[in-house]
Symmetry: C2
Subunit: 410 residues, 2 copies
């Protein structure tokens, strides 16, 4: 069993880096605070006897060596991990928990003097949130071959700083190539970020996959004119199209209830003057569904709705696809390892699909992968009030420990 | 008659300061470019023999002395003027025309060696647009006693620069107190910024007043949560309220068609992350109507709509009143001076009310005031494509000359 108190203390110590007034965390990717968080993690791993390497995407890997196959070569490692970056108004557990639960597994193995055949390894993936640099999960994405390194380095935050320059600035542009090595298995433990486990009073979510998600920028272009003398009739006002498109997209999500999601996290306006009808609105659109066919149908409908309403309101429109992350089914052997770890430990549980994207989405393309969820308070995440019970966090880390041991000692 | 070519040449020379790629102007209040425009105007006035003073709001007054009452003291001046600042994507005529038409009147009097009993004066009012610093018409507003000097100095642009600091920085914080002196009359000539004169093929608008206008910040506060795992059902999403409020406010304007206006020039979102339901939206709302009673009724309905929809969508809301400019009726003697100048000159004309706010709104509180409009192409303003015919601009300046002469030689 892992040490729940130590895990909690580490979480609380890490949460001080970027702590916000409302009790959350603002430790966005590749900021000075992200560097501080990384430095603390690296120090903890070195104290635990791990070999730490950093790749050219700033992904950090901390390995506890295995004993190898009897008389033979080293075995491929069993990996776990998640991310240390947060939303601008994020919580103390999203991502961080998966990283520190991995560290707690290693500390527990050290305490008990347990050796494993395969190495056990904890990863910190860069910029999982996609909040500062879009898209999400770009560290694991480059590593798994989904994105080019140059594409990643060229991503810009709202101030125009590039990912590459910021990575270099904080001193985490490493030497190792960002590409996959053979892995025996990969696991990730995470807070659910939704209300299901809490509502059904289950301790552990056994994940079979991740829903599909599409990100877009919808641009509506009208004709700027004066707020006073310009008659309402002849206006080509992007807000006149916007409100009708929002209405239709919320209805689209309702048609595919309860699983479909439609979210608008950001909007930009030009020129942004009180007494001028805007020339341009750019809306960030996030559409999701666990069933890829349904998500594809939603994508189609979104395009039709935007085109029709833009036409009816005299606007030009453009849909730029920012990111597509198709629905994922996890590796059956890894799912089974989690299932049997939960059974061994006797925790109440539920089989489920993740509503959020995670680094495991990309890792699953190149290695057998699955995930473990624990409940979070009121299902609230991407919110400074994000919270989780120490006993649930402890349970999740115990499941992680047992699942990793199963795969590390085949 | 004024010199139409000289007026046009001065307009085009001024338009080079802050010229945009699309043929418009970006010379926002208290920027370096505003300073360049002011410097050029002051030089022109000094070349024309005027005495130039600058007040503590940066309002510039260029006076051509009068001969005084026979054997008696100086007479109160006849004032004209407008503003040199533009929208971020503004045109070459809005405001600038009124300033340079005033200068052209003085140049014409000089050419003809005409003396007037009362002094003739041209004013440049600071920050009329309200685009960089809200509210609009703050230079004339402080001068006329609508706003305190301290309130004006403390206004901030989007980067947090204050009006007072920027005024000082560009060297236009003058010594003269920003307060009214006795004036015989005040006139302002301006492009219509709407489509009526062009549609009805009239050269001159004889203005009887200005419509009422209200500016608000509507804030909608929800609960940030994750775009993926959070069910649509329980969300408190500011965009869910926003689209319904926009819909209702456009309907409200329709109910009071054809004169009511509802414009949303700006929107801000927090935290502005793609995969997070926003905590907060702040929408700039501009409501107008020429009839003050109707505008008051619209104000009431706006408050009811926002409160009801916020309640129905589980949001908190706040309405901050940014600015109120009640409907204005101009001085009958000044309106009559314009009417008879138009009759003398034989231009086609129409009596009308201004849809836009102008410095004359505030000047009219402390001096007999009225305005003259000329057509602009397709009624387009607050747009880089803003355009006007040289012959119409010439006609407007001739009306200004004759109206001013009537009042300056009583
Ligand atoms: N877990 C998490 O917040 N992931 C970010 C990617 C997403 O938007 O789902
Ligand atoms: N003329 C003009 O653009 N005035 C600004 C004030 C308003 O919004 O009407």
């Amino acid at each position: 069993r892992i040490n729940g108190q130590r895990l909690w203390d580490s979480l609380m110590e890490m949460a001080q880096i970027g702590a916000t007034q409302k009790g959350g965390c603002n430790r966005q990717a590749l900021t000075d605070l992200d560097k501080q968080g990384r430095d603390l993690f690296v120090k903890w791993c070195e104290d635990a006897g791990c070999n730490v390497t950093v790749d050219e995407m700033g992904n950090i890997f901390a390995q506890r060596p295995g004993t190898g196959s009897k008389g033979g070569p080293d075995l491929p490692p069993v990996l776990t991990g998640s991310h240390l970056d947060t939303q601008p108004t994020g919580g103390k557990f999203d991502g961080v928990y998966g990283v520190l639960a991995g560290l707690e597994v290693i500390r527990t193995l050290n305490d008990a003097n347990v050796e494993t055949a395969a190495p056990v390894e904890v990863a910190v993936w860069t910029n999982e949130e996609g909040a500062r640099f879009s898209p999400a999960m770009i560290g694991s994405g480059v590593w798994a071959g989904e994105f080019d390194l140059d594409y990643a380095y060229a991503r810009q935050d709202k101030e125009g700083n590039t990912f590459g320059a910021e990575l270099e600035r904080i001193g985490y542009k490493g030497q190792a190539p960002a590409k996959p090595r053979p892995l025996a298995a990969a696991f990730e433990v995470h807070i659910e970020q939704g209300p299901i486990l809490e509502a059904e009073e289950k301790t552990i979510g056994v994940l079979s996959g991740v829903q599909g998600m599409n990100w877009y920028d919808l641009t509506l272009i009208g004709q700027p004119c004066h707020a006073g003398p310009s008659p309402m009739e002849g206006r080509r006002d992007p807000f006149m199209g916007l409100h009708r498109i929002l209405d239709q997209l919320y209805k689209l999500a309702e048609e595919h209830a309860p699983w479909a999601r439609a979210t608008f996290g950001d909007i930009r306006v030009e020129p942004g003057s009180r007494n001028t009808v805007p020339e341009k609105l750019v809306l960030a659109v996030d559409l999701r569904h666990p069933d890829q066919k349904t998500l594809d149908a939603m994508d189609q409908r979104f395009r039709e709705i935007a085109a029709r309403i833009a036409e009816e309101t005299g606007l030009e429109h453009e849909i730029r696809e920012e990111w597509r992350s198709p629905a994922v089914a996890f590796d059956t052997k890894c799912v089974e390892a989690v299932r049997s770890a939960v059974a061994d430990l006797g925790y109440s549980n539920k089989e489920m699909v993740s509503g959020a994207g995670h680094d495991s989405v990309y890792i699953s393309r190149v290695a057998p992968t699955s995930m473990i969820f624990v409940p979070c308070e009121k299902g609230l995440s991407h919110n400074e009030a994000e919270n989780a019970e120490p006993k649930d966090l402890e349970a999740g880390a115990n499941v992680l420990l047992h699942a990793m041991l199963k795969m590390a000692n085949p």
